[in-house]
């Protein structure tokens, strides 16, 4: 008998705000976090815009005793740790980060935090490499003998993708099943789905899940440029750069951030009188098997993921009140996604409130848990976020979009994503009914 699973905490760090409340306020107010890239000089790149997280001090988000450990955190890890703090505080759960007498059963609290390909800090690594340089090449003989000792001993641990989950489990004392999904833009949703399953089958009562990533660094940006995924003609108008499903879509924008949920067994949540945002009622996952760089133009497998999630939720497509699709703003990708959405939704696609959020956030990649967070906050606030920049839908498709947020009944919401390489994932959420 599958247990019911609800969301009792939301943690967000994003280009439009740190903390889920600030995020939601700014999202619904139409604030755009895609701006001229500031954290390094992007002058040599064709795309010079990014969704950057506002400044923060990582020490503010961990117990004092853990501040030393923050020195071995890559940016991606910091983002996960900050989002985790937000989620925990939101949930009211007293982990060992907040008290010497934690009230959680650590053995029954899982963790599933997705991550991307983490870039080593170039300044740190190059400083060490200069001691073993031969012109512009690295002299391996000198590097092996001496040069590598310039790197801190824990260097590798700063950049392993499983360290997002590991630091969070250490800070909060979580000893249940722990995983790290690495499926690019689909990571957060797959992690949330898998954590959902873990609680459904009784292997944990609680789990913190989602993902975080930063592509706002030279390696992250160059990869997106080389793949022609990012907007290169909007450097002077970053707020208009990312145009999900718009006829003039011209590419996405790199970004950074993280979105995490605390998922909880419903009985457990009720017993501690937790605030419940919504119930997770459906999860679907599939694979394109088409290309490693572009989505299947028929959207066939993407549709299958959505359909599976809806079937599990026992919700027909026309009963979905709000949809937050991936909506990268890459023309060919949007087209493929739209084909999939049409297959899954049929005519209902023209009436469901349609709110892709990447015009405002950029692409958080493995941190796309923020999309799922938005879908749940929409239920909480009974409000559909804006679909900024979706002004002239491609191929004249009729979409229920608005440039402003709208108060509207949201009983069922859905968030769906797909990755480079073809992993597709969809989550369905439902408002708790009075019972």
């Amino acid at each position: 008998m599958a247990r019911r699973v609800v969301i009792t905490g939301i943690g967000v760090i994003s280009p439009i705000g740190i903390g889920h409340q600030t995020f939601w306020q700014n999202l619904t107010a139409g604030v755009v976090g895609v701006r001229t890239l500031a954290s390094f000089n992007p002058g040599g790149f064709p795309s010079r815009i990014a969704g950057e997280v506002p400044p923060y001090k990582i020490g503010d988000f961990v117990p004092k005793s853990y501040r030393k450990a923050t020195k071995v955190m890559a940016r991606d890890i910091e983002l996960a740790v900050v989002a985790a703090d937000d989620a925990f505080k939101d949930s009211g759960l007293q982990s060992r980060a907040y008290t010497d007498a934690p009230t959680i059963n650590s053995q029954r609290f899982g963790c599933n935090i997705g991550a991307g390909l983490i870039s080593a800090d170039l300044n740190e690594l190059t400083a060490a490499m200069t001691s073993a340089r031969s012109g512009n090449d690295l002299d391996l003989t000198a590097w092996g003998r001496e040069g590598m000792t310039q790197l801190t001993p824990l260097w590798l641990l700063k950049y392993l993708p499983n360290m997002l989950a590991c630091h969070v489990t250490i800070v909060h004392g979580l000893k249940g099943p722990s995983n790290t999904i690495t499926c690019a833009d689909a990571s957060s949703h797959l992690a949330i789905g898998e954590a959902f399953r873990t609680i459904q089958r009784g292997d944990a009562e609680l789990a913190i899940c989602g993902g975080a990533e930063s592509k706002v660094n030279p390696m992250g940006l160059i990869r997106q440029c080389l793949l022609n995924r990012v907007a290169v003609e909007s450097n002077d108008q970053p707020a208009e750069a990312v145009r999900p499903f718009d006829a003039s879509a011209r590419g996405t924008a790199v970004a950074e951030g993280g979105g995490l949920f605390i998922l909880e067994d419903l009985d457990h949540a009720r017993a501690r009188r937790a605030k419940i945002y919504a119930e997770v009622v459906g999860f679907g996952a599939s694979q394109d098997a088409y290309s490693v760089t572009t989505p299947d133009p028929t959207g066939r497998s993407y549709a299958a993921a959505l359909t599976k999630a809806l079937r599990e939720a026992n919700v027909p497509a026309d009963k979905v009140d709000l949809l937050i699709p991936h909506g990268l703003g890459i023309a060919s990708h949007d087209r493929a996604e739209l084909a999939g959405l049409r297959s899954a939704f049929g005519e209902a696609l023209s009436s469901v409130a349609f709110s892709p959020i990447k015009a405002q956030t950029g692409n958080l990649a493995a941190g796309s848990g923020v999309d799922a967070a938005a879908a749940v906050l929409a239920i909480h606030h009974q409000q559909a976020p804006p679909a900024l920049n979706t002004v002239d839908p491609i191929d004249g498709v009729k979409l229920n979009v608005s440039r402003e947020s709208r108060a509207t009944e949201v009983s069922v919401s859905m968030s769906s994503v797909y990755s480079l390489g073809g992993q597709n994932a969809a989550l369905v959420f439902r408002k708790m009914q009075a019972e």
Binding site: F40, N41, G43, G44, A69, S106, A115, L117, N123, L125, T126, A127, M129, T130, N136, D137, L138, L140, T141, A142, W143, G144, M148, L151, T152, L154, L160, P161, N162, M163, A165, H167, T169, I170, G173, L174, K175, G176, S178, N179, T180, T182, E194, R197, P218, I222, R223, L226, L227, N228, A285, Q287, D288, A289, S291, K308, L420, G421, G422, Q423
Partner: protein, 449 residues
């Protein structure tokens, strides 16, 4: 809950690329460890590794034009998958992109009504990061270094990097590339995930794939892992952690799990893939069943990123959970394939954890580490070690822990020292404990109706 069985196995390892060839060498106590040749490691603290030798994708896949640009670890995954898929007797591999989208049409002539429903075939791999484009990366970094500011000049960096880097080499570094390529190879369109919990990853991938099948979200799951980190920054990272053996003068004897003179693991590379299937689906198509997956446990230490919890509670609970999941007692386990990396820390902690989980039976359950021969395949370790358990069950024989000569009082179990041993093996356990404290355990059993 569906029962889950294994119907195909395949691997690409430092000791060879065929199931029987490698198994024979493991039982003979041979070694895949030698002087590192993939890059010039002569002055590195560790100049030995377990490299995959003489690998040629042509041998495994007739037409791999859909996989141009596939990195080393992805190629290993493709080959291991082809091997396992063919062993499982699954219908024709889609080795060309054209056929991937038209499986029903192209194979209609060959298949009968029981065509494989590719929407119900999923994949769960532990794919490691691909290989950095070392020359381009280092060149761009050094060419743009500003010694005065102690930082790279990112404008200059971009200039050089755009000149030297290319899209394919960059995209193929993404950890989901082995997964994505395997999907194109097989046409699998079901649930597809990649996890990267370090050294525990492919044990976890197979465990989670098992859960997907138990629940009925797929009929077939391709499970396993692929990793290749034998490159300058990979070895640098592990050497800085002092995790690697530095016994460079005698490579076959450098990996010494449980030995008093152990000094770290030997970095290996490769891939292991298993075809997992619901029992119903396997029966319906008359598949040969190699073993059944009966138990899976997963925990976190929540201790430190650098060290395992010396009390080993996370490892204990992972083993206990797997046994509870399998509904079996410690005495039903006839072999433990240990994580057994050969680091000072792991082997003592793992011994203690086995004693706690197995109580008085710990002294009699045979334990061995094939890392003594094959090295540590990191994300792929769990997969090759599970395949080893399947073969132990199949042949009623246990692989040894090689290089075990000097007794360590902290490590006093039966580690099957230096020589393979015949034994009745009905059920076997495989442990994998990742850096950062993620612990995973699987139990497989001889199949019985």
């Amino acid at each position: 809950m569906n029962r889950v069985v294994i119907t195909g196995i395949g691997w690409v390892t430092p000791m060879g690329h065929t199931i029987e060839g490698v198994w024979k060498r493991l039982l003979a106590g041979e070694s895949g460890i030698s002087r590192t040749s993939l890059f010039d490691a002569a002055t590195f603290p560790t100049s030995i590794s377990a490299e995959v030798k003489d690998f040629n994708l042509d041998v495994h896949i007739f037409d791999h034009s859909a996989h141009k640009g596939a990195g080393r670890n992805t190629q290993f995954a493709l080959a291991a998958c082809a091997s396992a898929w063919n062993m499982a007797g699954l219908p024709g591999l889609h080795a060309t992109r054209e056929s991937a989208g038209t499986v029903a049409e192209s194979s209609a002539a060959k298949l009968d009504a029981a065509a494989l429903d590719l929407d119900r075939v999923g994949i769960y791999l532990a794919g490691g990061e691909g290989e950095l484009d070392f020359a381009a990366f280092t060149h761009a970094a050094l060419a743009s270094w500003n010694a005065e500011t102690g930082q790279i000049d990112t404008v200059r960096w971009a200039e050089v990097a755009f000149e030297k880097m290319n899209a394919t080499r960059e995209v193929e570094q993404e950890p989901n590339m082995p997964l994505s390529h395997v999907a194109i190879l097989t046409g699998a369109r079901g649930p597809a995930l990649n996890c990267l919990t370090a050294c525990a990853a492919s044990t976890q991938a197979i465990g989670e794939a098992t859960e997907i099948l138990r629940r009925g979200d797929a009929d077939v799951m391709i499970g396993g892992g692929a990793h290749s980190m034998i490159h300058p920054f990979g070895v640098t990272g592990f050497n800085r952690l002092t995790a690697l053996s530095t016994a460079n003068d005698d490579p076959p004897r450098a990996s010494r799990p449980f030995d008093a003179n152990r000094g770290g693991f030997v970095l290996g590379e490769g891939a292991g893939v298993v075809i997992l299937e619901t029992l119903d689906h396997a029966r319906k198509r008359g598949a040969k069943i190699l073993a059944e997956v009966v138990g899976y446990g997963s925990t976190a230490d929540a201790f430190r990123i650098t060290d395992q919890d010396p009390e080993g509670l996370g490892a204990v609970v992972a083993m206990e959970e797997a046994m509870r999941d399998a509904n079996i007692q410690p005495t039903d386990i006839h072999y433990i394939n240990a994580h057994g990396t050969g680091t000072r820390e792991n082997d003592g902690n793992e011994t203690q954890a086995i004693k706690t989980a197995f109580k008085e039976y710990a002294a009699s359950v045979p334990v061995s580490s094939i890392k003594s021969m094959m090295g540590h395949l990191i994300a792929a370790a769990g997969a090759v070690e599970l395949i080893t358990c399947v073969l132990a069950i199949r042949d009623n024989v246990l692989p040894p822990t090689m290089n075990l000569h000097t007794h360590d009082p902290e490590c006093d179990l039966d580690y099957i020292p230096n020589k393979a041993r015949s034994a009745q093996v009905s059920a076997a356990m495989s442990n994998s404990f990742g850096f950062g404290g993620q612990n995973d355990t699987l139990i497989v059993r001889r199949f019985a109706e």
